[in-house]
Structures are given as C-alpha cells and as structure tokens.
Amino acid sequence: MKALSQKRRHPLAAIALLLMGLLVTGGLYAVATTVNQAKADTTTYSASDVEEGGKLFAANCATCHGMGASGSQAGPSLVGVGAAAVDFQVGSGRMPMQMNGPQAYKKPAQFNEEQTKQLAAYVASLGPGPAIPEAGVLDEKGDAANGGELFRTNCAMCHNAAAAGGALTRGKFAPALAGVSGQHIYEAMVTGPQNMPVFSDANISPEGKRDIITYLKQIEANGSPGGADLGALGPVSEGLFVWIAGLGVIIAFTIWLTSRTS
C-alpha cells in the first residue's frame, strides 16, 4: 500500500489510472452487453460441410466477396455474418446477385438445401455470427396480438401495416411479406439483410420475434375478410378502383340509359 501511495505522484500515474478506468468500463460493458452480441453458432457442421462450402464459395461467391470471404470493392466481408445470413440470402435466391442495383431481388434459389447448408457452414466457420433459428421460435404458436403490436411499431413503417411492402429511397424497397417462410423472416430480423436494420435479441426478444412470425402467418392465413383486398395497398388502390371500375361501370350505364332505341 505504501509503495502505491509513494508512486501516486509518478508522471505516468494519471495515464495508468486512465488505462485502468477504460479497461474496467470496457470490460464491464462487454460483460453487461453480451446480449447484444450475436450468439455463437451452436449448430454443428461437419468438417466436410465446411470444406464443401468453401469450394462452393470460391466458385460462386468469391468474385465479389473475396477469397476467404474477406470482402472486396464489389462486396462486403462475410466474416461474422453467421449462418443465418447465408441461409436467408442464398435460400431466398437473393444471392448470388443477378446484377448490381440498389437492392438484390428475390428469385428462385440457385443452390439446393444441401449446398446452402454447406455454404452456411463455411461462412459460420469464419467467425461467430447469428445461427439458423431453432424450430422452437418458428412454430407459429406465439401471441399474435403482441406480434401485431411489435410489427406495427418496428416493421410497418417500411413493410406496411398489412405487410404489403413499401418504397425506400433511391430504388430500394421493403418487400411484401406474404409467402415468406418463418425461418427467413426470423433470419432477416437477426441479420438485417439489404437495407433492413438488425433487430437484435435486446431489441426484440426471440419470443417477440416468434410472436411477429405468428402474427404474419395468421393474417396471411386469414386472407381478406372483407373481399378482394386490391393489393392491401390502402386508399390509393381504393381510389383507383372507384374511379376506373366504379365510375366506369356507371358511365357505361349512363350511356345505355340515354341512348335512343331507334
């Protein structure tokens, strides 16, 4: 103790104190916020999966994402994006990209399930990242009402309250969510593909995500109770419909009524 008190006026004491303080706060923060970190991949992939995935990656993805997925001018590094990101992007056909543009379009998947799994295994082996969700959160048996509230608060501003999609700036857009699998919805939320933000487990808990998927699947199954939904796009499609179909039919009738029989 004495030695410590003697050294307290040492020229480097302030720096040492500062370093200590930074280490403590940084360390505490790191411990306290592990919830924000992507959970390490718990799925076990065999070494052959990783190896096959690496080959597929080199042949199909490395042009843009670089050898070893370290990224290039044309595409970002994939170290740490996790298996979930690969399963979403490749599984929904968005990757490999058809062409450069504001956003990758959904299209028929280029790789089968086995190949997608191998690619995911390879990318997951590069660094820890979000894993493919477990079946428990995809059972569509959550609380739909809570999911609806979460959806309206977090998702509706881009995806539309009826999940019909919406426009973003400069040619980007939020796609419609009908027909998207629960697994892909979950993966999109944890990885934030394209222009979507990441909704980490601190932001929306896995139970919340399960509720959102339940809600989306439920409104999809419900269909449109009031008749044809006109794209669920709101007053614009309704206005278009009343002007073209409604008024159009009525004009046809007025012409009929005022035509002479002769």
Binding site: G171, P225, A228
Partner: protein, 559 residues
C-alpha cells in the same frame, strides 16, 4: 263561385276508393298542380348530364348506410381491450371507437357490408361531384344565369370532402390517426394561431380524448345538414334555370329539347338510383375497403408505409410530399423573431388548394369580365369551341393530377420499379411545367379540331374514293353532310377579341386595358364557324366539280 250546398253533377267524384283518397289529399295539398308542373319539365338526353344524379344517389346511399352504422358505432376515445372475434387483435388495448368499428366489421350482422357500402359510396360521391363539375366547366354551363349554382356546387364539393375526411378519421385506427396527425401538423404550421387552434380542436395536446366525438358530431350532423341544404338550393336553381342542352338543330337558348320528367325521366331516374345502388353494393360485397383490422389501433408512434388519405384529399398530401425541406441552402423552415415558421408544411398544404378553389369559385366572373357577355346561355359549348377555356381547365386538371399522383409516389416507385427520389423529382418538375404543357397542347388540339370541323362543314366528308379526271387531275370525292350534322359543326358562337372600350368619361382605364389584353389572349387565334356565304361558295365549288364530271360523262356518252 257557386254557393250550392247540394252536390251537383259538375263536382268530380272519383269512381274508386283509391281515387277518392287521392282526390281528398290533392284538394288539401295541391299535389296535382305541382306534379303537372314538374312532370312537364323537359330534360335533354345525354350521358354526361347524369353525374349530378350519381352524386345525389350516392348521397342517399350514404344517408341510409350511415344511419345503420350510427346504431353500432360508439365515438368514444375511452380505453378498452378488444374482446371481439378478430383474433390477431385479441386483448389489444384500443379506443372504444376502434373497438366498435371492429365489432361492426366482424360481429354485427351485415355490418362489414354496410361499412363497405358507406365507404365506397363516399368515394363515389366525391368522384361523381368532381366529374359533374368538370362537365359543367368544360361545356360552359356555369355561364349566366348559372353562376350562383356553380358556386353552390363548389361549396358542395368542399362539403363532400369535409364529410369524407371527418368520416375517414372516425374508426381511430392507425391509418386515420396518421391522417389526423398530418392535419394537426398543418394546423400547427399556421403562424401565431396554429398551436392555439390545434389545442382548441383536439381539446389539448394531440391526440387528446375529444377529437373522435367532435368529428363524429360534425360528420353525422352539421356537414350532412349543410350538404342537404346546398342540394336543395342546387336543385331549386336547376328547376328555375331549366336544364342546359348541347347544341343541335332546333335547339336554342329559348327552349329545351328532350323528354319530360313524367313519365320518361321519372322512370329512368328511379331506375338509375337502383343501378347506382347496385354498383355500390357489388363493390362493397366483393372488394374490401379500408380494412381497419390491418392497421391496428391508433398510437402516435407507429406510422405505416403506404399511409395515404382517401383519394379526394390526396392532392393536398401529394403537395406536402413534393415540397422540399430546403431550396438550395435556404431552409424553408425559418425562425423569425423567435418564432418557428414551418413554410415547408404551410405552403404546400394551403397554397395549391387555395389557388384551385379560388380560381374555381371566381372563374364564371373572370370569364364574364373578359367577354363582357351579359346574355343568358342555355346551349352548351362543345369544349373544342371554347379553346382557351378548355385549355385553362386542362391546365388546372393536370396540375391537380400531378399533386394527386404525388400522393401515391411510393406506390408508383415500388410498382413500376423506379426510384422514389426520381418520381419526386419528375413530379416536382411537372408541378410547374405540366400545366403549361397541358394548356398549349389542349389549345392546339381544340383549334385543330375546330379547323377539321370547318373543313368538313365546307367540303364534306372524305369518302376515300379517288377519281381521275380526263385531263389527268386526281380528286378525292367528298360526300356532302346532311343539314343536321352540318348544323352541329357551324352552329356555335366564336367570340372575337373585344378591344378596350372607353368608360363614361371617355377614358380607357388601366383595368379596361388589362381586360382587352386578356380578351385578345382568349380569342385572337379563334377559328370562326363557316358562314352561310362560305358554305354557299364551297357548294358552288362542288357544283363546278360535279358539273365537270357530268359534262365529262356526257361527252363519253355522246362519243
């Protein structure tokens, strides 16, 4: 007057009991006189004259379906938890107003249908009012003596928009709440009085707990009562003025050619009501409108993509979307004397609508001032025969449509795969140059059509038959028009520019000079209808051709 107490043979006694009852009523209310007068009213036949009727019938449908909805709707903003049968909202906290709207949709028998009838009829109501006004404008039906009826019609348009908007806000779902929030923002952007007005309207800070019940009172009481009053005035004036008619042989400003109200038009109009009702009912049965269950309860934090007002408020929403926040480096939102002036909301929300409605109300007087035309007009103009008016109308129409399209800019972007920013930039440009292009193009098209009409009136219709004359000349044979068709092409007024006239002091004042300038702008490139002398001359010409042909054939025969 005979004072005989005994019944004599001259007193009419109906033979049947139905007749006697009718006679009893008639002697006390004088119905037959009214019926005789109205039954003889003559209405001309044209499809474009029926939009006013469509509007009237939509309004009747609105009253009927609206009454049904009031039985079940509760305009309270008290909080409740949804306990109805739509499971995705089960136990969600919401207002009683939204909960009762959901109950109408899912738990009241026929409620969903009636809600959709009411909403589709509302959209159709404003649409038919608008189309009716366009017809009246483009045919010049607003001219003397109908200027005041044009004003009443314009008030009806505004009232129908007010009725629509107050109704749109009632269900208290996310969409209607977002709409109200925009209105609140517009009100608050008014300098000085804005915030006070907003607090007065909402009973405190937005959204408060009052607004739904207040809008409800306006929606079911005040606005419909005013609409009804205006409709009565409108129809009264239609009866006083008699109906306008399109130009044609035997039609002039002193008569109306058509069918009498009774029985022909009474039957047609009665049937037409059921046709309109049927069309609305089919739309309501098969196409959903305003699916409030999709939107969830209103909460000021979430805003859904694709949030738009109903179509008739769309042009204001579009103008708001088009307004830039900064122009160059200049911020449109300014702080002056320590107060915030949000011109980026105030200007687009109030100025375009203000210009549109001011010009709309004032137009009959503007045109009357320019033309100094104080005569009554009961025969309509064909739009091509008033090129400048038609062009002004189209410029306004295109301006409106640009703003209208801007309200759907996000959907244009997603559905046509273009960038939202580009849609906005193009529409901003069109906001300024669209009306100019529309004016020039419309005027040219109208003048070209008039020239074509004149050509046909003078030289007849092209038959496509080419004849070679013996000396080698080729001519296309023109078939002359019959008189009825020709009348339509030549029987219109084409006012010439009216030069400035000195006033009673012998002075041409500045206002008169301005009027003369406008008059020149209106009519300088007019196409005059073919005069009888020109027609005569043209026919003489044809006669010469025919004489030549006849002589030629005579020659061949004689050979």
């Amino acid at each position: 007057m005979s004072s005989n107490a005994t019944p004599d043979a001259s007193v009419f006694v109906a033979k049947t009991s139905g007749g006697r009852i009718t006679d009893f009523v008639d002697q006390r209310v004088g119905g037959s006189g009214i019926l005789r007068e109205f039954g003889r009213k003559v209405f001309p036949d044209h499809w474009s004259f029926m939009f006013g009727e469509v509007a009237l019938y939509s309004f009747v449908i609105l009253l009927l379906s609206g009454t049904f909805l009031t039985f079940f709707f509760d305009p309270s903003m008290a909080e409740t938890h949804y306990a109805g049968s739509y499971t995705p909202l089960k136990n969600v906290e919401m207002s009683v107003a939204y909960s009762s709207s959901l109950n109408i949709s899912f738990d009241v028998r026929g409620g969903m249908f009636m809600r959709q009838v009411h909403h589709w009829a509302a959209l159709l109501f404003v649409a038919s009012v608008s189309v009716h006004m366009l017809r009246v404008f483009f045919t010049g039906a607003f001219r003397k003596p109908r200027e005041l009826n044009w004003v009443v019609g314009s008030v009806l348009l505004i009232l129908s928009m007010a009725a629509g908007f107050t109704g749109y806000s009632l269900p208290d779902d996310l969409l209607s709440g977002n709409g109200l929030r925009i209105i609140d923002g517009v009100i608050k952007s008014i300098p000085v009085i804005g915030t006070y007005t907003s607090f007065f309207l909402f009973g405190g800070e937005f959204p408060g707990t009052m607004i739904i019940s207040r809008l409800y009172m306006l929606h079911i009481l005040l606005v419909p009562a005013l609409i009804l009053l205006m409709i009565v005035m409108h129809l009264f004036m239609v009866v006083v003025h008699k109906h306008t008619q399109y130009p044609g042989p035997g039609r002039n400003d002193g008569n109306v050619v058509g069918y009498p109200l009774g029985p022909v038009y009474a039957a047609k109009a009665g049937g037409f009501f059921f046709i309109v009702f049927g069309v609305v009912a089919i739309m309501a049965a098969f196409f959903t409108i305003n699916p409030i269950w999709n939107y969830g309860p209103y909460d000021p934090s979430p805003v859904s993509a694709g949030t738009q007002p109903d179509w008739y408020i769309g042009f204001v929403d579009g103008a708001l979307r088009l307004m830039p926040g900064t122009i160059g480096d200049w911020k449109v939102e300014q702080v002056w004397f320590g107060y915030m002036f949000t011109f980026n909301v105030l200007l687009p929300a109030l100025v375009p609508a203000g210009i549109l409605f001011t010009v709309m109300f004032a137009y009959p007087w503007i045109e009357r001032w320019i033309t100094k035309d104080n005569r009554e007009h009961h025969v309509l103009d064909r739009p091509r025969n008033a090129p400048t008016r038609t062009a002004i109308g189209m410029a306004g129409f295109v301006w409106y449509c640009v703003m209208w399209a801007a309200a759907g800019s996000d959907l244009i972007a997603t559905h046509f795969h273009v960038a939202l920013n580009d849609v906005t930039y193009w529409l901003r440009a069109l906001f300024f140059i669209g009306p100019v292009i529309a004016f020039i193009v419309t005027k040219r098209v109208a003048l070209a059509l008039q020239r074509k009409d004149r050509e046909i009136a003078l030289h007849g219709r092209e038959t496509g038959r080419i004849v070679r004359l013996p000396h080698g000349e080729f001519i296309e044979v023109h078939a002359p028009l019959d008189e009825y068709k020709r009348y339509k092409l030549v029987g219109f007024e084409s006012p010439a520019p009216l030069p400035a006239v000195p006033n009673e002091h012998g002075v041409v004042d500045r206002k008169e000079k301005r009027r003369a300038k406008l008059s020149r702008w209106f009519f300088e490139d007019r196409v005059a209808p073919a005069t009888p002398a020109e027609l005569e001359a043209a026919h003489g010409h044809h006669g010469a051709h025919e004489a030549v042909e006849a002589a030629e054939s005579q020659k061949t025969l004689s050979h």
